[in-house]
């Protein structure tokens, strides 16, 4: 049944050893890059807040921005459209649908990361970091995940408690 496995492992091991042994002769054709030169692409935000830029905004600062940049697809106030509902929706998601920021998303940092990298759909990377903070704060407040006067910044965003955060099961823990 597992007759092939030892053979695979052995060949992988041999390959790995060959690779590390030959490292001195590796092509080494990558060019070093400084953090400053990397910065325009260095946009990942991690759940602990790593990667969040300076700045911050309160929900009210995002209302006008949302109307101008987001409502065409996501509806007035994020109530839904071609691009999906961002505010409101069912209390629980199911196989019939209804995953929302409030009832499903496990981390608020995902909101900043995704808006900054992918939105608006037709003009990605056109918003400033400050504008992304404002839209993040607006959507969190509209979903009643923060109060209307709370500022969202690099310190506060990772601390937002998402209601569904503890309802996830790692499918294959041994693969992580």
């Amino acid at each position: 049944m597992s007759m092939h496995r030892p053979a695979i492992m052995t060949s992988l091991l041999a390959l790995a050893l060959a690779t590390s042994a030959a490292l001195a002769e590796s092509p080494n054709l990558g060019k070093p890059i400084t953090p400053e030169d990397l910065a325009p692409w260095d946009i990942n935000v991690l759940p602990d807040g790593t990667g969040l830029p300076p700045g911050g905004a309160k929900p009210a600062e995002g209302a006008q921005l949302f109307a101008e940049n987001c409502s065409a697809c996501h509806g007035d106030g994020g109530k839904g459209g071609l691009g999906g509902q961002l505010v409101g929706g069912p209390p629980k998601a199911s196989l019939d649908g209804g995953k929302t920021i409030k009832n499903f998303w496990p981390a608020a940092t995902t909101l900043f990361d995704y808006i900054r990298r992918a939105m608006p759909y037709t003009q990605p990377r056109s918003l400033t970091d400050q504008e992304v903070y404002a839209l993040t704060a607006y959507l969190l407040a509209e979903n009643k995940l923060i109060g209307p006067d709370e500022e969202i910044n690099a310190k506060t965003l990772p601390q937002v408690k998402m209601p569904n955060r503890d309802n996830f099961i790692i499918r294959f823990p041994d693969r992580i």
Binding site: H4, L46, R117
Partner: protein, 437 residues
């Protein structure tokens, strides 16, 4: 067995409703002797007409083109596209499995999902950055990567949402292309990502990488470092030629056996981290809701699976007689060990012939000779991987994973990672429907 002996056929029936011994496939003359004996209709009953030259045999043919396209008679062998006007949402193109017979998907028929259109990337300007928890952040050009030692490997890519219509509480009437068309298999050639990470010098604290594409959504996914160092590839060639635009031209991350969305296309950046990013696609889209309201995260693996590609819905059986049941089987865990086929809704099973090569984490073609007697039949296939994992029945599967309360759109994705048995029902007229059995 009794039935075929009674009719005096030379091939043993090995399971109910006409399944024949897979060794008949190798028996050359034996199967034809049987086939002639069973013929009832015009195709193998009537005598052939006198031969004549076709017009193409009586004139000079066309000029040879620089890039050969399929015959004009093969217009049906195309992908189905679900966003032909490029509206501002996802676009998908599905592989026509019912018209393919091998294990390699031609590049133009490989399934594609793009979340912000297909970018036109100038390969001379494309860059791949490796940074984060490394000693030396590095930038690679395509020209530089061309000088690296490459590896080639045949393997499948399957969208985590392939076969999602089978989460419907009622069987959705659609063909194998619509139901299972988000999986394809190619020969991929490129540079092991581990080699580039070794050059950058990975910090011992590193546990994950976050990969990012150069397309409009800057699609990003987290991958455990263990998988990256095991068999991840920066793939630049597909079936020998530069990778297709829809597959991530000029380079993609390829993670053999792992959920399609993780195989980041248009790969431009790899950040080495100590934690997953919980990107939109892993935190929301590719987390699977369970019946108890919780959800799976980091499913990653495409588990052992098979489906029959022919006969299948849309293919009409014109007359009783010998047919070959064929399909594909694959497992993100490794090789396919066995495929069983049933023609009586799982009451009896017979082992299918597995076509070589039978490669790990790649499509394996299976075949089973079948004598259709003209009556109702329900065709199923069931695969095992070499670790002994068995493809579940749909009933077993939905008991754990749930189903919808009402039928969704055939283009919808109620959940993901569906790998249970598919059933095709043949009726007395030779028409085929999708059923749950």
């Amino acid at each position: 067995m009794r039935k075929s002996m009674r009719k005096g056929h030379s091939i043993a029936q090995v399971a109910g409703n006409g399944l024949l011994d897979r060794r008949a496939l190798l028996g050359r003359g034996a199967i034809f002797a049987g086939a002639i004996g069973t013929g009832a209709g015009a195709l193998n009953g009537a005598a052939a007409e006198p031969l004549a030259d076709g017009p193409w045999s009586l004139e000079v043919g066309n000029v040879i083109p620089p890039y050969q396209r399929p015959s004009p008679f093969e217009k049906a062998t195309v992908r189905t596209v679900d966003n032909p006007n490029n509206e501002p949402h996802n676009s998908r193109a599905r592989t026509p499995h019912h018209l393919l017979k091998g294990i390699i998907t031609p590049g133009g028929l490989h399934f594609t999902i793009c979340h912000g259109g297909v970018p036109d990337i100038d390969p001379a300007q494309h860059k791949l950055v490796i940074h984060g928890l490394v000693k030396r952040p590095l930038v690679f050009t395509l020209e530089a990567l061309e000088r690296y030692p490459m590896v080639s490997r045949i393997g499948f890519v399957e969208c985590g949402g392939n076969s999602a219509p089978l989460f419907s509480n009622e069987p959705i009437q659609a063909d194998v292309q619509a139901l299972h068309g988000l999986a394809s298999c190619s020969e991929w050639t490129g540079v092991p990502l581990s080699l580039l990470l070794d050059e950058a010098g990975v910090d011992p604290k590193a546990k994950w990488i976050v990969a990012e594409g150069a397309d409009a959504p800057h699609l990003s996914r987290s991958v455990p470092l263990a998988k990256i160092m095991d068999d991840a590839m920066v793939a630049m060639y597909q079936n020998g030629a530069r990778i297709q635009p829809g597959q991530g031209y000029p380079m993609r991350l390829w993670l053999p056996g792992y959920e399609g969305n993780m195989n980041v296309k248009f790969l431009r950046r790899v950040q080495v981290t100590d934690q997953p990013a919980l990107t939109y696609y892993e935190a929301r889209t590719y987390s699977q809701i369970l019946p108890d309201g919780r959800a799976y995260r980091f499913y990653f693996l495409q588990e052992v699976k098979s489906f029959i590609t022919s006969p299948s819905p849309g293919i009409k059986l014109k007359e009783p007689g010998i047919y070959e049941i064929t399909g594909i089987a694959y497992a993100g865990t490794g090789r396919i060990a066995k495929v069983m086929v049933s023609a009586d809704a799982g009451r009896s099973w017979a082992e299918a012939a597995l076509q070589e090569p039978r490669l790990p984490k790649a499509f394996t073609r299976f075949r089973m000779p079948w004598r259709w007697d003209g009556g109702p039949a329900i065709l199923q296939s069931r695969a095992w991987d070499e670790a002994g994992n068995m493809q579940p029945t749909r009933e077993q599967f939905v008991a754990l994973r749930g189903q919808t309360s009402k039928p969704p759109s055939v283009l919808g994705f109620p959940s993901q990672h569906f790998n249970a048995i598919t059933s095709w029902a043949v009726d007395g007229k030779g028409d085929i429907r999708h059923v749950y059995a």
